[in-house]
Symmetry: C2
Subunit: 516 residues, 2 copies
């Protein structure tokens, strides 16, 4: 196993290149904070990743037991204040920017995706409560989440109601000031655990009639304990998954559980989307984490493993072989490219000037970032050959862990459709225009990217005008991602040369070779 | 879990279409035999697949214990004579053709890849002994392998000597009439097991000096027991792998083990290649098996799962959604296309008229078939969404099991290089000419395929003349595979229409949509 090293320098190269002009971002402070987290991730989180995968979680007397060492690591994480990073300062948080949070999220996932899964939903819950909760709800729950005393879940999916939320059957009815929740939820990450003192379930449940579809849904907060007694919330099963074995994916029964409405009745979906939009960029960053870690392992292995000879007859290492170099370059292109896309999107979020462009970039980041992680992990296995197929070297686990990212928080197919329909229509086409302008800025004077942009605009116009865009969505979304990838890489190569990075020549080669 | 049904009709449609004119092939007899095996695979082999994956193999007191039920299933397999299918009749086999064997191999893998791994090496060992062994060796060992009393291994890889066999350090020295073998081998499938009474190790070891490279290698037979006593062959470890948990991948120590030379000293690699060439088409068929099974699971699930609405507002199932249809079509294209390629190659082997074409098609089948299986399994996970990420539905296991096929029996990168170098030069370009003629025959009057063939010929000429073809190999190999895929699909669509298959319209749609 090649030890985990957080790619702090690469992350800050990317932040400076793609988000350096965001006013709220203090690069120096951010770097200091992230370096501090990197040490914790390398020393505490990463060493638990493979053992946690092997041991997995178990259900004992209706409660989830996490793998050995996870509770202690979480206590350290919470104790250092990392759970409250972006929470408002007057609710016990540190009020930091989303760029710093993104750097930390990427490093956390690369070190230990399972634990990141279980702990990262709290940030989305804080955002949801701050946007839709009452002042009393905020005052009661945000400090608990920010301190790490509590963790939270997102109880959305039901059997047969994954991508299609109109089929949700879980019901909520008034019971005095509170509500009574009944029904079953599945695929609930961290549905129970033994890390935090409390758990706050955010539950999407039906308050209207079934025929109201998604308009009959409301969002509830439902603590695992109410007034010192267990709420009627029971984990009935942990799923056996391909990966993320240390993240308990639970089936939960709400059997007359007590909950409180968040925001307005019938507006559950809007509130849930606050949480999901946060999660979507986070999923893209998970892809970045997987891609970068898979590349680091493969590059280290390929530089070290002797095999065959070079064209001129000298003993070679794996990385000297053109086909291995091709795979390492592709991993690098995916990792740095997907990271650049996320940083671009987060910078737009922080600047808050082009909301339509943010909405356009979000599904694109989710789709491309997740596929980048899976693909780079797959290439990592191939570079390591037979050793890559062993669990011992860690790339196999990356591949297993990464695979869910193309499915959760909206399948990639759904994000492609969103991009090709709503994305192109957003703000009367403003997003499309903003995206084209962004590509133009990034591309500099690269003729291939400029030509590809012109072709893309024609496509976008054609698809925007189509009566039946759905069959075209997959190809269009991937063409859009390829165009953005080529464009960000022109900027990466130019900046690397400008800064005199030692690998500027390699990066220029990668930038020039990408299809547009 | 959707029960396994062997795709016997699809397999025979393909054999009739792509190998129907092979003289030694008796379609009716073949069909009867394969139907018989299909029943055994569905009833006995497939039900052990998921439990075997969960339980895995273990090492106890230096011996490998297979998962529960495997020994009984193997006894039934051997008892029915399936291990001697292609062995010569005068050595206790049934002397059947390779097309029937291919159908059985595909079904075996789809039902239980792990058990197929452990048992299928015997056919390659029989072929190797018949081609390179002495009459006495053939008389002693082939009947044992054909009856299933013995199984065999292929002891090739060493630490640091996977793709680069010139680095092999395992040594053999004369000891009277026999040889003494010393060294360590890794990644040995079925290196030990509790299925068969005897095990025959075929071992590649160095009889010359290290500087002789692969010319100093000889092939040995090395029984696990000699004259009723254990030979000095010890399994020291079972690897923990991504998949194929029921196939024990062993590290083996030869500590003065007694062995006998097969064929001539220093000719070990040639003998080993007899075994590996057999194995390569078998790996391609493993890919076919994975692709077809993943498609069957995804298609059944997508036809059954209700989600959303159609464009005209009716309740829809998953398969009604264009993006899901795209994924199911791609799986089908890969499964039937890779199967067609294998059947074409096997028909060429049986006809024995164009050996250069066989050598050209073998790496192409290995590369495309293995990637088809992995990709179709990946699509299967995506179609099932969150359920695909659970182990319960079986597609996750297919993905894990399939992943090794792009690595073993020569990595796909090496096969791409073989195709772009040796493949193009074979018999002074005869293979290239034969391949072009084959595409022309298959394509019928499809203009896109004919145009793509012309472009491919130009590429092939350019790459054949290049001083540095290695960096071009990956793209060229995949372009070659895409061309063959498009061509076989024109034939599939035409034949389906001609036979009035119920799904002829779907197949024509798939054929027309493939890139050339």
């Amino acid at each position: 196993m090649i030890p985990f090293r957080a790619p702090v320098d690469d992350i800050f190269f990317s932040l400076r290149t793609f988000a350096g002009d965001v006013p709220c971002w203090d690069a120096e402070l951010s770097h200091e904070i992230v370096r501090h987290f990197a040490g914790f991730a390398e020393g505490v989180l990463a060493p638990l990743n493979a053992p946690g995968d092997r041991q997995g979680c178990r259900l004992e007397d209706g409660r989830v037991v996490m793998p050995d060492g996870f509770a202690a690591a979480y206590a350290e994480l919470a104790g250092a204040g990392w759970q409250g990073l972006t929470a408002p300062e007057d609710h016990g948080g540190q009020g930091l920017d989303h760029l710093t949070a993104a750097a930390i999220s990427e490093i956390f996932t690369a070190a230990n995706h399972s634990l990141q899964m279980v702990t990262s939903l709290a940030a989305g819950a804080i955002e949801t409560l701050m946007a839709h909760g009452s002042a009393a709800q905020q005052a009661e729950f945000v400090p608990r989440l920010a301190s790490g005393a509590w963790l939270s879940t997102m109880c959305l999916t039901e059997a047969g109601a994954g991508s299609d939320l109109s089929r949700i059957r879980c019901r909520a009815g008034r019971a005095g000031d509170a509500w009574r929740i009944d029904g079953q939820k599945i695929f609930i990450s961290g549905g129970d655990q033994d890390l935090s003192a409390g758990i706050l379930h955010l539950v999407l449940a039906r308050t209207g009639a079934p025929e109201d579809g998604v308009k009959g849904l409301s969002l509830f907060l439902c603590p695992a304990e109410v007034a010192g007694r267990r709420n009627a919330v029971t984990v009935t099963r942990i799923e056996e998954k391909l990966g993320l074995h240390a993240s308990p994916t639970c089936q939960i029964e709400f059997d007359g559980a007590t909950g409180w409405l968040i925001g307005a009745e019938g507006r559950g979906l809007a509130a849930m989307f606050t949480m999901m939009n946060h999660a979507r960029i986070d999923v893209a960053l998970q892809g970045v984490a997987h891609a970068a870690r898979a590349h680091a392992i493969a590059a280290a292995y390929a530089a070290d493993r002797h095999q065959g000879r070079t064209a001129d007859g000298r003993p070679a290492v794996l990385a000297d072989h053109p086909d291995v170099r091709r795979m390492l370059d592709e991993q690098q292109a995916l990792a740095m490219g997907a990271r650049a896309m996320c940083h671009l999107a987060l910078a737009e979020i922080e600047r808050a000037e082009r909301p339509a462009l943010v909405e356009f970039l979000t599904p694109l980041c989710k789709l491309f970032g997740s596929e980048a992680g899976i693909r780079a992990a797959d290439l990592g296995i191939q570079v390591l050959g037979g050793y890559g197929y062993l669990e011992e070297y860690g790339v196999a686990q990356i591949w297993r862990d990464a695979r869910i990212t193309a499915i959760y928080e909206g399948t990639n197919g759904i994000h492609a459709v969103t991009l090709a329909t709503r994305g192109l229509r957003l703000a009367e086409g403003a997003a499309q225009g903003d995206f084209g302008a962004l590509i133009g800025r990034l591309a500099g004077d690269d003729p291939a990217t400029i030509a590809a942009l012109a072709a893309w605009r024609e496509d976008a116009t054609r698809i925007g005008a189509s009566d039946d865009p759905l069959p075209l969505a997959h190809d269009f979304a991937h063409r859009t991602a390829r165009l953005l990838l080529r464009a960000v890489w022109q900027r990466i190569a130019a900046r690397a040369t400008g800064e005199g990075r030692a690998d500027a020549g390699d990066l220029a080669r990668i930038a020039a070779a990408l299809p547009a």
